[in-house]
Assembly symmetry: C3
Homo-oligomer: 328 residues x 3
């Protein structure tokens, strides 16, 4: 089933998953991160998935199954279990609100207190959980899951096989105001939309604002963690993953295949290339070329950031050394 | 209509808005930020709004309309379009929950699954979208829009012509706990409210906590972006704008006409003057006088921050230079 | 009633609470923070709670009541008032959704548009406010309050006497993805749960993700402010308080009795000891022993942080001094 080779008792049976440091004899676990290797000599796990090239340095009591990628194998096994365990709701719970003329595919789920606005289009197999809001004119692609209480404002488009978690808000007005002569602000109408492509996951309470004009665009395969802010007219490239609480200011474009840490802030109107890696809490004031690896506030190349931190730690000494030199 | 002067073909007709770099012949666009001037020589836009003093350095194919403030003019035009495009819901959708005795003005909108608690007062023309919560004793002023799923706890007061976006939470308990002898905490009751004046916009998933006693106050014209935290007993002065993910700790007062960047953090119990500008991700540990322009963690005058960043970049050299001096 | 001793007019009557700088003759206030001592000589308050050892240096017009802990006493008095003022809803409002077979205790409150999924278990006296979501198989302990629109995903467990504020999301999927050969990501099923112990308060729009396997654990007495992110498999020890907008990455364990400032970021897979104090906006890249007091990005001991900030302010001078030395 997993294409692995067994080392140890082939009859070992397990009934659950667990982390290696917590696993009992009824659990299957895995070893992927070398940081955790020491646990394998103490674990009570029944079975451990290990990589093909794992060479134990001490005796191991668990049965080992050697595979190419233990984490990926674990993930596949968990998926089978998850499919068996997770209730798959279908049908239309009452009361729900489905505007006149909206067609609900036979295999869709519409939870109680969900709202489907006029002119919304729902793909096959969509699951709109309780208390979710699908505004007028919204499109939701095949197989997409909208979790409880997520809100999709009017006119936005969500692709296929997306997951939008609870409390996420897609398509609220961009933050655009024009100053007036008396110091107050005049709201700039936000007449654009949000377009989310296929296979995107949006975390809980994350906000993606609609464009001032045109569209805020989240490309295929993007994964956004919780509490992220993507402002109006931002664009995020395919297969980019962004950790929690990061904020992207208006009109900034982030490339494809980037890995962005948590609590990062991007200035507006900048362009970040493909395959960029950014450390947590960094501040990105300007453009970054493809393949950059940066960190810090303001961000500098990762190596420089680490060096800077060391130098700053030794500043007290440096002031002393300069004082001594001056005395001489 | 816009009071401008036309340069080029006065018969050019357009049917949409677009950004200058994306506009086609059917689009009207604008040039306000000098950073984008180069686009005007390449744009395919039918019409470009430019400032009265714009002097092209190369030929421009688009029809130009010269106005005093292109962005402001665009904004007014967009508004006309937005008014024509955005569906204006009215009436009371079912099922909704309106506590006995609450009067709903004739021109109000109450969306499905909205909850209006006992003793709530609703101004003329309010729009309470689906799944919004208006707690007992809440007041909502004339013309205010509460977007889907926003929550207003009991007793809070929202002014006129405000916009509260989806998922915003107004009036949750302030974070107040008294330590007890055994190391656990005792909740301080939060018996105050939140008072939001007129013309305020509150972004999606932003939280404004109720006061411990008295009121947390958001003055007229304040604009808060998404995912902002305003703690108990904070006060924000008129026409101050704050970008996403900024946090203001308890009892801090921010003045009027300030511009605060994203992800800024304010310590508690401090006082920030009027017309203060704060760069993104700054940390504000203490009071700031009127007109301050600061940046950094902890924040320093903007000029100093930029200098510091440069000095820090050259620290490696400085250590080298001192080592050389020492050798001599 | 409060076990204090009166100094001044024992017949003074008050009808409200107020902050010392805002109090009128009808208000009771308190003095706990020495920073505010100067206000006591100017206050118009009718009564001021002061500490037993308070020795006025100038005349005070208010009646003083001396108690051991003025803030704690105030808190108790406010609680009495809060109990009298806050409407205590009971019963089941309609329409609400209660899955077949779920038992609702007699003294519980289920608000309109609340959703209680199949197999959920509700303790005595629970208050599930309007539009809240209690997923299939969720357990809610005695006396716990779930505020409007909070979402508890399937299978999670909430203890007794907890408060979950509006918009909080408990049990959304952890952010776990395995990279595939083509650069896209494969979702790791998140089959664990969230376990929240007794006496926990979770702020508005805070997110606590479910574990990949096992449980994300929030121990007894923890207080989380608004907009906090606690990722999958994190653990937070008893009586730890965390201010708004802090983020804790996956699998990190924070000890008991810690005080964590706002906008702090914790790296994943680290271990933070007990009684740790962390300044606002700090970045915590690695383990911290019991009793640490740190600050900064990356965090260093608090004392060092303050020194560093001073040295950095004087960097310009240092460069000058080195240049002068070099000229000599």
């Amino acid at each position: 089933m997993v294409g692995g080779t067994v080392q140890g008792n082939p009859d070992t049976a397990v009934s659950t998953f667990a982390k290696i440091e917590e696993a009992g004899p009824d659990a299957l676990t895995f070893l992927a991160n070398p940081k955790y290797t020491h646990y394998i000599y103490e674990t009570h796990a029944g079975i451990v998935l290990v990589s093909n090239d794992f060479a134990p340095e001490h005796p191991v009591s668990a049965t080992l199954i050697r595979v190419a990628d233990p984490y990926e194998t674990l993930s596949r096994l968990m998926e089978l279990v998850a499919q068996a365990l997770t209730p798959v709701p279908t049908g239309i719970e009452q009361p729900s609100f489905i505007a006149e003329g909206v067609e609900v595919p036979e295999d869709a789920y519409i939870g109680a207190f969900a709202y489907i606005g006029q002119g919304a289009r729902l793909g096959r197999g969509v699951k709109i959980h309780p208390q979710a809001y699908v505004g007028p004119g919204v499109t939701i692609g095949e197989g997409t899951i909208i979790y409880p209480g997520a809100k999709i404002y009017h006119g936005c488009r969500i692709g296929r096989n997306c997951i939008i978690h609870a409390g996420a808000v897609i398509g609220a007005d961009g933050f655009g105001f024009a100053p007036t002569a008396d110091g107050s602000y005049h709201k700039i109408p936000q007449i654009g939309i949000v377009e989310i492509a296929d296979d995107v996951e949006i975390g809980a309470n994350t906000t993606v604002d609609r464009a001032t004009m045109g569209a805020t665009r989240i490309a295929r395969g993007v994964k956004l963690d919780n509490l992220i802010q993507a402002a109006h007219n931002t664009e995020i490239g395919a297969d980019t993953v962004i950790a929690a609480q990061t904020g992207i200011a208006g009109s900034t474009k982030v490339g494809a295949n980037c890995m962005i840490g948590g609590q990062v802030g991007f200035a507006g109107h900048i362009r970040v290339g493909d395959r960029v890696m950014i450390g947590a809490q960094s501040g990105i004031p300007g453009n970054l070329p493809d393949g950059s690896r940066v960190m810090g506030y303001p961000a500098v190349p990762e190596r420089d950031f680490k060096r800077q931190s060391v130098y700053i730690k030794h500043l007290a000494e440096l002031f002393d050394r300069v004082s001594k030199l001056e005395k001489k």
